[in-house]
Assembly symmetry: C2
Homo-oligomer: 108 residues x 2
């Protein structure tokens, strides 16, 4: 018997940050591109875009910045707000998982 | 911004106890009938039966007993194992929720 759990954030009754979007945002941070991130995760660009765009609208704050031009052809970076949000969310998630696993062993 | 979370139990990689089945088992306990419980939840008898029957097979332990005959026409009661399982699961769930809410306020 194993215990499983998940944590997500909602605003106005709608999901804006859960495991899927966290993974997407982190992969955008790694690759510097929504397109590359979507490809790596196996998601269409359109779907990736709509996920983040929905989260941004729901939050009312930008999560990423498109850098135009330059020799590298620009790229996408996360805003410091998005980085902070990811950091906090992952901290909460790690703590929750550790708590649930510990209490599961004790109770069951 | 609100935090949401859920906890469930798996065995052999498959869900056997989550919020839905907990509610179903508790309603069977209250009503003494799978049929009445299904109706109260708004689920077909067939679906309710398959949910519990799957959980029983996965666990390898009976969760309810059908009492035959008598003037009241029998009825369905939960096994003491099922009662114990519900008690433990709800304890874990309450503690997890309290933990997540507390840490969410502190971190965010």
């Amino acid at each position: 018997m194993e215990v499983k759990s998940k944590v997500w954030l909602e605003r106005k009754g709608k999901l804006f940050l859960g495991m899927g979007r966290v993974m997407l945002l982190k992969t955008i941070r790694e690759t510097g591109s929504i397109n590359k991130a979507a490809g790596k995760i196996g998601m269409s660009y359109r779907h990736a875009w709509s996920q983040i765009s929905f989260a941004e609208k729901n939050l009312g704050k930008p999560l990423f910045v498109r850098n135009k031009g330059g020799s590298g052809g620009g790229g996408t970076t996360l805003t410091s707000y998005a980085n902070e949000l990811l950091k906090k969310f992952e901290k909460l998630q790690r703590e929750e998982e550790a708590f649930v696993n510990k209490r599961f062993k004790e109770i069951f």
